[in-house]
Amino acid sequence: MGAAKEEHVCKSQDIPGKKWKFSEILADNKIKERWEKVRKFFFLRESTYDMTNKCNIRCEGCYYYEGEKQFAKENKDIDAWRSLMKAEKKRGITFVVLAGAEPSLVPELCQVCYEEIPLGAVATNGIKFISENTGYKIHISVWGNDKTSHKLRGAKNMLSRQIENYIDDPRAVFVYTFTRNNIDEAREIAEILADKRCRLTFNMFSAPSGYEGELRHNPSSLLHTRETIMDLIAQYPENILYSAYNTAAHTHQTGLHGLYGCSYPRMNPSTDIGLGRSFRQYRTDLTWDRDAACCVPDTDCDDCRHYAAGSAVVTARMFRHAVNPELFKAWLDYVDTYLSVWVTGYEKGKNLCDNLTAPPGFKVF
């Protein structure tokens, strides 16, 4: 397992050879309580929407400006968006993710979405404030300290501007994306955000298809990221929305698709049940393409460790985690984290598992 710290590796209390019944796993009160807490949200069914093809900054490795979707003709008609949302609700969509390129530039469209489907999240660079009237979770992207942000994103004083906009805003979650080059800067960022009472979660840079730049992770950077995250979780438990199992899953040398099998339509031809049936990724012209539909289109699937992919590739794999108490606790931590990051008003509980647990069928790294 290379350089990962021994004290973080899960010493499973599993009884060798024992086949656990689900009811036996749930006999532990802490597990039962957390299970009942998270299962109330099994009704969430997501789709994602590009809101505009404009952005106020340009970031290296940006997913939006890869592939065909950037060329879709913008539809700014509020009534068309309202009709789309009504239709989405009718086909069972209960959660929306407003993403590319920069939703804060079209606040009236975000508001329409919120009026029709009140659960969701907005992915933003945080430079322009999104009104409290839009009660979605606000995910503010952080790519390093201000020096790194200036280099990669061409914008000055990003973190202070983001904090100024969203300090003490219960909707806000800062999303720190680990690249190969900014791992150590996360400590500085976490300290600043914790000092300002902000919430922070983590994302892993997942290379767009064909990307050959220097941000792509390698085994060494994955391990370094893993250690850093585990330290930060221990240091700032009140501010960091993450768990040991999130860390194990997203910093594993095998990507999410390899570990769990991605259920987004782009990688999943089945339309029988689940995301392969319900998920769509709409472009700014309100069309969608099944062959490109995933949470972050144009990502290289083999390199995907994206935080947004967790809903499909980890959360939805409950069945294969319900084999012993340790693995199920790890999965519950993952789901609890996921809901606290994505659902307004959902508060994360204390992690049940402080150690790195290996994904089912794999080693810990």
């Binding site: 019944k21 689900f22 009811s23 299962r39 099994f42 009704f43 069914r45 069972g92 259920s263 089945s270 029988d272 049940i273 689940g274 049936r277 319900s278 939805a316 409950m318 069945f319 294969r320 319900a322």
Partner: protein, 86 residues
């Protein structure tokens, strides 16, 4: 229809109603051929929950890859019966 499969259908319906907190329906009145995905609106997480409870109850194994086949209460009951007779 054998007595055994009727009993399993009723039990699957009970589990479904209980676990998914379905309202305004009793096990006896749960239509065994209704499409659970299209008409009841259940998703893979719901199905996984029901499958885990049925696994416990009947001491059988339900394969995750078989989920797409389990689209009605009757099909789930037939699957359970088949596993019991293995």
């Amino acid at each position: 229809m054998s007595l055994e499969i009727e009993k399993i259908i009723l039990r699957v319906a009970e589990v479904m109603i209980d676990e998914l907190k379905l309202e305004d329906v009793t096990p006896e009145r749960f239509e065994p051929d209704v499409d659970l995905v299209d008409e009841v609106g259940i998703d893979s997480m719901d199905l996984a929950t029901v499958a885990l409870v049925l696994q416990d109850e009947y001491s059988i194994r339900i394969d995750e890859d078989d989920y797409p086949k389990l689209t009605t209460v009757r099909r789930i009951a037939e699957y359970v019966e088949k596993q019991l007779n293995k």
